[in-house]
Amino acid sequence: MTLSAERVSWAAGGTEILKDVSLTVETGEFLGIIGPNGSGKTSLMSLLAGIRAPKSGSVLLDGAPIGLLGRRAVARRLALVEQQAETGERITARQAVELGRTPYLGALSPWSPEDDRIVDGALEDVDMAYLAGRSWHTLSGGERQRLHIARALAQQPEILLLDEPTNHLDIGHQIGLLDLVRQQELTVVAALHDLNHAALFCDRIAVLQEGRLAGLGEPREVLTEERIRTVFGFDVEIEQDDGGICNIRFLTRRTQKRAPRAQGRRTLSAMGA
């Protein structure tokens, strides 16, 4: 099972969003996609999921263009968790996860005990079984995100695509969620905004800059002080621990920041005098 993008480009409203991006997702790996806001992460995720067609180039699933495979066949092999998908329907937590069985159910084929078992398992996997009966609207952002992942797991995919799955979660839930995904032993492609999370969880990292691929490889190869400066526009210090895991420290320019404040205070006292 391989998923690859071959020189894909995509544009919206005349603006080029992705330009000539090529990458291959290896079976079983955790591939992170990082880049500043607007660098095309979400667009790349939708192209890889096959819900949008590239303007040029192609996305291949096991060598076949994904657009030519049936939507149902794709949904059985590949599940996408969007950024903050919301609903106005009054559904329960369990019903949201049950949607994951859609690609396996025909118009006339009934829901089976096997489907029940898979949904139960998915709820267990994300540690949400005890909230299964709760109404969606009473759940927190973190709980909803875990349910989205359970829904994706209920699709029994081989590849899991996650678009900024930790957005709006507190730090404990961010780590917990990525850890949970890692434990599923699936091929994972995740757009991430936290560089330390990317360094911690990913086997390989792809860097997007203004719609182009600006780097692809293992975290310690990709996450260099220079690349982060050119792509994200700020200075960092990178330490590597014994396991080869990078730790990125952001350099806030303390001295420069304090100066105007001190100046302000002086002005005030001058006014008071």
Binding site: R71, R72, V74, A75, R76, E82, E89, R90, Q95, W111
Partner: protein, 342 residues
């Protein structure tokens, strides 16, 4: 809820639904300015369907068979079809205020029907229901384009619908004023308000198949509609071919609206209010929600029709007046609820 109810439970529910429907039809035939005993209704049906030969007053038999029963059957089909349209449009557009009336589809269908009936557009080739269907499709296309331009939001769709309704209602009035005789104009204005007075059995042969076909198509797409809960991209990632589902379901909704408008005129609020009531009663899963809404719409319309015939002695109110009197406050309620939830 989507779990397969044991098949006995499902068959039982279907049976109960049919009992409720037939009971409502029975009421529709018995209640009216001249109350007719329930037994007479049964005997009339037996006489007509199986030549049972019960001795009945020809007048009673005539009222029950030719007027009230046909009327109740058409009312039921119409209510069911409009409620189904409401469910489908609300789910596809993810908009709790969507229904054929508010989105201007009914107004478009009216214009199409009037265009054929009065101007004789497509003379010979187009019948009134076909004209209504074309009008409905054009109206929906126009409203969709407007809504897209206005930014896709809940408000944008409703505003586009309002604009569309106004435009098509104005077109209808223009055609009627310009081309119709005074006699025609009065008839058409009464029909536009939603009116079951002229309904006879031949109308039922259009209404019943249209509602049943619509119900079957919608039920076949029940799981697809479920998958739209988190939006169309989420539906696509669950393996639904979004464009095909849109085309089939919106086409079906336009077909049902057109059939009903060409028979009874445009009737508002049934498509809006019944689906919400059904959601509260049976939940959001479309496999249950669709038939429940169809039943609710059918029963609601039969009773709205009874009310319209009996509320003012000696006069028949247009049925659209009754549905609006119930529907407008319900609409306000839904609006208020949304505000508190947002």
């Amino acid at each position: 809820m989507s779990r397969a109810a044991p098949s006995i439970g499902r068959a039982g529910a279907a049976f109960a639904a049919l009992v409720v429907l037939f009971a409502a039809l029975w009421f529709g035939a018995a209640i009216g300015e001249t109350a007719i005993p329930f037994s007479t209704v049964v005997q009339t049906i037996a006489n007509r369907l199986w030549d049972a030969g019960y001795p009945l007053e020809p007048i009673d038999e005539g009222i029950v068979w030719s007027y009230r029963l046909s009327r109740a059957v058409v009312a039921a089909s119409c209510g069911a079809a409009l409620a189904l349209c409401g469910v489908v449009l609300q789910s596809l557009l993810r908009n709790p205020l969507a229904d054929p009336y508010i989105l201007g589809i009914s107004a478009g269908a009216s214009t199409g029907a009037v265009g054929v009936a009065i101007l004789g557009i497509g003379a010979g080739f187009l019948t009134m229901p076909l004209g209504a269907f074309l009008g409905a499709v054009v109206a929906f296309a126009l409203v969709s384009v407007l809504a897209l331009k206005a930014g896709r939001g809940t408000a944008a769709i409703i505003l586009a619908g309002v604009a569309g309704s106004q435009l098509f209602n104005a077109l209808t009035s223009f055609i009627v004023t310009k081309a119709a005789t005074a006699e025609q104009a009065r008839g058409i204005m009464f029909w536009l308000l939603g009116n079951l007075s002229g309904v006879r059995w031949p109308d039922a042969w259009l209404a019943v198949p249209a509602a049943l076909a619509g119900l079957v198509v919608c039920l076949l797409h029940a799981r697809a509609l479920d998958a739209f809960a988190f939006g169309s991209e989420s539906a696509a990632s669950l393996g639904i071919s979004v464009r095909r589902t849109y085309l089939v379901l919106v086409g079906t909704a336009a077909m049902m609206t057109a059939a009903m408008v060409s028979i009874v005129g445009s009737i508002g609020f049934v498509g809006l209010v019944i689906p919400h009531a059904a959601r509260i009663l049976v939940g959001v899963r479309h496999g249950v929600l669709l038939p429940a809404s169809a039943l609710g719409g059918a029963v609601f319309m039969i009773f709205a029709d009874i009310l319209s015939r009996t509320l003012i002695p000696g006069q028949v109110l247009p049925i659209g007046v009754i549905t609006a009197l119930v529907g407008a406050p319900a609409f306000a309620l839904i609006l208020g609820q949304r505000r508190t939830r947002a």
